[in-house]
Symmetry: C2
Subunit: 150 residues, 2 copies
DNA sequence: TTAATTCATAAACCTAGCTTTAGGTCAAGG
DNA sequence: CCTTGACCTAAAGCTAGGTTTATGAATTAA
């Protein structure tokens, strides 16, 4: 089964120009062409899925290219590839934690402005922060203000 | 209590050049200066904490500036500000979900290459995918391959 | 036959969010 | 008194990751 660039673009919600850009970057080293026109096979589709995952885990284009190159080298690069995924796992884990801290701050701020709207001003709030905050709210506040462990 | 730009830079692990850039963007509209030199007060420090949160929730510089402007307009912009934080909460929630899907893919890939290393090739793996995958692994696989609900 | 689609390339262009550079002020220490 | 270090500005520069433009070929639909 083969797909045209336009079909792949629709399937993945990726602009055609981006697919061509990825191709230029060497993401599809063995893609076939029929009189110059690209034919995406299952191989390219699978590549695209992995690329998507690596992009979401914030890997740079160049490093994704490195991974593609490893793939072509076969069994002798299994370890490099595993290490890459292990690393990305750690990175994403850390990012989720960061975002959860951000969520706490956002929840706190939502509560804060909800109160401000009710009161018409921030006077009562200023008296509460941080020791007299409601228990639940203080949890968000504290989480958001935790020190970075860099 | 006042801080110099260098002290703030250390406290927040933000380059001095970036702080000056933020200032130029209007993030510290009421910051004092003593013969041209910036003095960061508690107000600016608090601004910086919120900016940090909004940046982590992927708000653009221009929109952060908008928020700063709202803050200066006082009580009549409480709703706009609350709405902004509500929106960012939704965005971050969605992003965490996305990242959890990415995590599943990464876990699956780690397992995959672990197996490939053990076997020396991917033959056995190809026979397992997707129906004969171990239960735990299939969970990651399925999660990672769920359709986007766009 | 003509018009609309879909594909192709190379190269220029774009944007956000900084960062660097070049040139200068000012206070403290040796 | 001179050097070092921390600060200042304006303006140019940078980078990733695409996107747009200009140009053209091949296919299909009316």
């Amino acid at each position: 089964m083969y797909y045209s660039i336009g079909e792949v673009s629709e399937m993945f919600h990726i602009p055609i120009s981006t697919l061509r850009y990825y191709d230029k970057e060497g993401f599809f080293p063995d893609m076939e062409r029929v009189s110059g026109i690209r034919r995406f096979s299952e191989r390219e589709i699978e590549t695209l899925r992995v690329v998507d995952c690596l992009k979401k885990s914030k890997l740079e284009i160049k490093e994704i290219k490195q991974f593609i190159d490893w793939t072509r080298l076969g069994a002798k690069t299994y370890e490099e590839r595993r290490n890459l995924f292990e690393q990305q796992k750690k990175n994403v884990e850390k990012e989720i934690e960061e975002l959860e801290k951000t969520m706490s701050m956002l929840k706190y701020k939502c509560w804060y402005y909800e109160q401000a709207i009710k009161d018409g001003n921030e006077d009562k709030l200023h008296e509460m922060i941080p020791e007299r905050l409601p228990k639940e709210v203080k949890k968000w506040y504290d989480h958001a203000h935790e020190e970075e462990t860099k």
